[in-house]
Amino acid sequence: MAAEYFMPQEYLHHLGAVLPALLRGAWIAVYVVVAAELIGVSFGLIIALLRLSKSRWMNIPALIYVDLIRGTPMLVQILFLYFGLPSLISAISGRPWSIDPILAGILALGFNSAAYVSEVFRTAIGSLDKGQTEAARALGLNRLQTFRFVVLPQAFRWAIPPLGNEFITLLKDTSLLSVIGVAEILKEGQLYAARTYAIFPTYIGIAIVYIVLTLSIANVLRYVERKLKVPT
């Protein structure tokens, strides 16, 4: 790589020039996060319910899942899904099999997030006063209605701030998908830097795009939290 000359007047130019590529990457990153959190929140809620179940056949597998996911690095999970699993399937089926990198990324991030989201929901549901379910059941609501109309709305309100943390973490973790060739923000930036040798302004641009996205998520969640707030 050629040595970079200190040319601050060039930096602004490169910052502007890299932006379209970074925005393309941002679009991919947001797409991946939204799809992954659809998996994360719904599967996470299921895992939380399994963990709260009194049956060992339900809560032990759920606990193992959470421990496995939390106990291994996300980068390893991504590589496992993109390289490890296809190689196993190819070996077993005797035919080459591969997975789309974006799909692999969505699945890896989604099922990773589900483990953390499940802990959020588990504590949220567990923190609810037992009197709430008793009152609902005593009124003649069945278990499902009690969960749907009494437990879930309250647990969800409680869960918004920690879920916000989880969404922000996941957005930043999309950068890990650069290693399997997903053209997200970091990858797009790296390609630009390699082409132009404008390394410093490119990484500044990358950081700015992440900041803008994470602040947006934080503000959307603050808005939702305000909207759902019960008057006191």
């Binding site: 006063d129 005593a138 609501l141 069945n142």
Partner: protein
């Protein structure tokens, strides 16, 4: 209306109910008295299956509550309960607290449920609080809403589990007044420490000790002339 035979309930090693037999006629008001740990609340909570009895039989309005095939949901549509801690749903307005169960169980249509809810709120003196949230109410108001909420299912039986114990003294009266207004309109079983309610509104006093009913008498008789030493002792500590 209520028929309890040889009811037992244990929590692990703790034998709380030790053979309760009881018959309550329709529209009677019955007060359960006894010191804490005597099993009053547990008896009440067995009647709507918040606690599953260990053995024995409960029949309410001809329905065998203790039958395995009877679901809690079916039992609770006829049996309302008011709790010590109110247990209003904090995320719903007063009106929605009251209409939630009638709507979701399909008992009433929206217009009908709203109309009944407003009528019940008027009955408990809180019609202006329909749009308020539970956190905006005083303890006495919360408990009156909780009573209206239970009544909205049009139950035949109402169970009161120490409904005034969590209230500031000046709010006890307003809740008792609502409870008194219900006497003889429906079958009522109340666990209470409010002797004024027991004296004025109850048809019968059941005195419990160590998991059994040891006295069953009209209030005048019970308060003037308790038969057991345990009841005499209890009344002495109250006065």
């Amino acid at each position: 209306m209520i028929e309890v035979t040889a009811l037992h309930k244990s929590f692990g090693q703790l034998h709380v109910l030790r053979g309760v037999d009881l018959k309550v006629e329709a529209n009677q008001t019955v007060c359960l008295l006894g010191s804490s740990g005597s099993g009053k609340s547990t008896l009440l909570r067995c009647l709507n299956l918040l606690e599953v009895p260990t053995s024995g039989r409960i029949i309410i309005d001809g329905r065998n509550v203790t039958d395995r095939n009877t679901s809690m949901t079916d039992v609770c549509r006829n049996v309302g309960m008011v709790f010590q801690q109110f247990n209003l749903f904090p995320h719903l307005s007063v009106l929605k607290n009251i209409t939630l169960a009638p709507l979701k169980t399909g008992l009433q249509k929206p217009a009908e449920a709203n109309e009944l809810a407003m009528q019940l709120l008027k009955q408990v003196g809180l019609e202006d609080k329909a749009p308020a949230y539970p956190s905006q109410l005083s303890g006495g108001q919360k408990q009156r809403v909780a009573i209206a909420r239970a009544l909205a299912m049009r139950p035949k039986v109402m169970l009161f589990d120490e409904p005034t114990s969590a209230l500031d003294p000046e709010m006890v009266g307003e809740v008792l007044a609502v409870m008194k207004s219900l006497a003889h309109q429906m079958t009522i079983m109340a666990v209470t420490h409010e002797m004024s309610f027991a004296k004025d509104a109850a048809d019968r006093i059941l005195f419990m000790d160590q998991g059994v009913i040891v006295e069953d008498a009209p209030p005048a008789e019970f308060f003037a002339n308790p038969k057991t030493d345990r009841a005499k002792q209890f009344l002495n500590t109250i006065h």
